[in-house]
Amino acid sequence: MVSELLNTLYVQTQGVYLRLEGDTLRIQHEEITLRNVPLHHLGGLVVFGNVLISPFLLQRCAQDGIEVAWFTESGRFFGRLAPPVSGNVLLRQAQYRALDTPSTRLYLAGRFVEGKLRNSRLVLQRAVRERGETEALVRALAEHEAALRALPQARSLDEVRGVEGNAASAYFAAFGDLLLTEDFSFNGRNKRPPRDPVNALLGFVYALLLTQCTAALEGVGLDPQGGFLHALRPGRNALALDLMEEFRAWWADRLALTLLNRKQLTRKHFEERPGGAVFLNEEGRKVVITAFQNRRQETVQHPLFKEPVPVGLLPHIQARLLARYLRGDLPQYPPFLAR
């Protein structure tokens, strides 16, 4: 299944032209052919930003059931080619049925939280290995162990959210100890608006990550608003927030810490407004977006498929696994567990 997913062609080079040449997809840039991809290898085509697709290639994709999805250059989903025969309605029906089935909803909410807990624990453990124990780190690790034991006992969504909440507050109580720079400090999570640079940075990276998770869900035809752990509200991508839990600590928090600890971000990248709201300024946002995009390109060994996978594909893989679970094709949903 991953091969199918990995047969998706991701085109991020700006200004290229994709056209049909026999049974081959040809990628051109100003008359020069950059690459030829045989269509029979192709399961999907994902293009970011200014990438042109010829009408004949689009028609062929629709005919052959090759999924085409359009994203902005920064990775926000804005549309998908809907081929005539599509499993999407059945998938969404399965999703809504799962939302209406308390046991399934509880199961999936638990898996998302489990992914979050294990990946957060990994970040804490690494910090202990690299710079030794602190009181808050030890406490946070103990809370995560307790949470992982309590999670399977949870009998309601509120209990799952409670387990997650306890671990999260211990995690953020220790988060300041992960900062190795004197320039910044962290005294707890706040948002809307953030009131210090670290919170401003976290909020921004989470927003970037959320666009990736939303895009990944829309890419497989799931409704990103139909979340299992997060409460449903119009306009709120609750399922994307669910999926994001697996990636928050391992991807977003670590990226934020790296930028601060390596002094790639300094005080001059932040702006404080009267009353105390703090935001990244334009230069700061550029630094973060560049680092975020670079991270998307890096590959990690996938724990399930034992293949190197670009980090940016991980949400897409999780979305596909979730779709497979909801359609009854997989007996369980495996959250992404970093190592």
Partner: protein
């Protein structure tokens, strides 16, 4: 609208909070029409019309986040506001600082709403801004102003105990509304004529259906 700008908008609305603060502007929507507030907040509906577009454009003009000095008064535009105590978030069009004391100024575009109602809605919204500013700065904020762009006029509003109580009551009513499953009934009166949600709300439909029934 690609790249950073679009991402910034989302970053400002840091996702994933459990307790959700209400937007200050919802207080004005509720005062104008509870059903309108419910359509926006519960149903996720938003339709632009001539008036909302004009309003958005006017806000863009003041929506430049920078502080500047004008005749000895420091002016902050598009200032982020919040209150932990009340669970409110928003942005002030303009806050002037007179000797350190915040003075919020809400910009209003036109006369699309019945006058008295529009005035009350703007006052409640402005007062909610003042309550946020009081919490943020630990100062009392006694007055602010509503600036009408159409009339190029500024009207000063005092945050009296009566207005404060009305604002808190509106907030409470708004929370109660969000806790309920159904939409409040339509107003079906003068308010509807210029409402951008007219087509979504269909305020005269219940009457029409009743007429249909009676005719049978």
């Amino acid at each position: 609208m690609d790249g950073e700008d679009e991402l910034l908008t989302e970053a400002l609305e840091d996702p994933g909070g459990s307790q959700e603060p209400l937007p200050i502007s919802a207080l004005a929507q509720y005062t104008y029409c509870p059903r309108r507030a419910a359509l926006i907040l519960l149903e996720g509906e938003w339709e632009d019309n001539e008036y909302t577009l004009r309003g958005a454009r006017a806000h863009e003009e003041v929506d430049l986040p920078e502080g500047l000095l004008r005749e000895g008064v420091r002016v902050e535009r598009a200032l982020p506001l919040w209150s932990e105590r009340l669970g409110l978030v928003g942005r002030a069009d303009v806050v002037e600082f007179l000797e350190g004391v915040p003075y919020p100024v809400e910009h209003k575009v036109g006369r699309r709403w019945p006058r008295e109602l529009a005035q009350r809605a703007a006052e409640v919204q402005l007062c909610a801004q003042a309550l946020c500013l009081e919490e943020m700065f630990g100062l009392s904020v006694p007055v602010g102003a509503i600036f009408s762009r159409a009339e190029r006029r500024r009207r000063e509003v005092a945050f009296t105990p009566g207005l404060r109580a009305a604002t808190l009551a509106t907030l409470e009513a708004l929370r109660a509304l969000l806790g309920q499953e159904r939409l409040p009934p339509p107003a079906a009166d003068a308010r509807c004529k210029h409402c951008s949600l007219l087509a979504v709300c269909m305020p005269h439909l219940p009457e029409a259906l009743k007429g249909l029934e009676d005719g049978l």
